[in-house]
């Protein structure tokens, strides 16, 4: 018999999912007091890092659809944390910016998240951390469809 039968516990894919779930849960708990969801935090963070991004770019950076990102953005705009012009300046894309309040909240939220990440990798040595990062990056690239190696 062919042996695709290691238990899920021993599979990298399951370990990935489990770690991601644990991280998400921890972030959720930490951000709740600020009134932020993980998606909202990620949105603020990305905008803060790259002011003027379009909604589509944000969606790709957060691995969700444009439509669902738009809902998140709308909420942040209503809370005056993010500003977006109502009309497109140069093309069809609406550049998003943090308001001063958004910048402040993003800083506070990021401090909390940074703590969680630090706790998560606390038991790893510096070398192990960079290898973990490298391994995850390699996995991502291996699955990104640059497939199609040509003859």
């Amino acid at each position: 018999m062919s042996p695709p039968h290691p238990p899920v516990e021993a599979r990298v894919g399951y370990a990935l999912k489990r770690a991601q779930a644990a991280l998400r849960a921890a972030m959720d708990d930490a951000l709740r007091p600020l009134g932020l969801t993980v998606a909202q935090y990620a949105c603020l963070q990305l905008i803060g890092e790259r002011p003027g991004v379009s909604g589509s770019e944000l969606a790709r950076g957060m691995f969700v659809s444009r439509q669902s990102l738009n809902v998140v953005l709308r909420g942040l705009q209503e809370r005056e944390l993010v500003h977006r012009p109502s009309t497109a300046p140069q093309a069809r894309s609406l550049p998003a910016e943090l308001t001063p309040a958004g910048r402040r909240l993003a800083r506070r939220a990021d401090a909390l998240v940074a703590d969680i990440e630090a706790q998560m990798i606390a038991v790893l040595s510096a070398r192990q951390r960079s290898q973990l990062l490298a391994g995850l990056t390699a996995c991502t690239e291996a699955l990104s469809n640059d497939a199609a190696w040509k003859p």
Copy 2:
């Protein structure tokens, strides 16, 4: 200024999310021809590995709520891939089992997923693979609330 400001690209948490998203997308593509979603595949796999599991146990193993797992289970039962007694044998929990058809489909699906995982970690050495697995496990445990160190 305090420096919680490495860009997301360099953060383990983001790398985790990204790798998980890539894996999920690849699995989705691979399983679509079989008429299975990732959640359905995971469900079949877990039941196959531990026949007689309760719905709540499955939900925990899949990192979703009991309610949302129930929706998945219902679909699998209607397709005669999973069987569950309508009344609880010993306690309140309803043990889930694979039907013969479910077992066959689970095998086929698992072969596809195993291929994807193999592709994902293809560029890593055996040592790097086990270190990646160990690193992910360590991260998970570090976030699992055994917190509460006592005085």
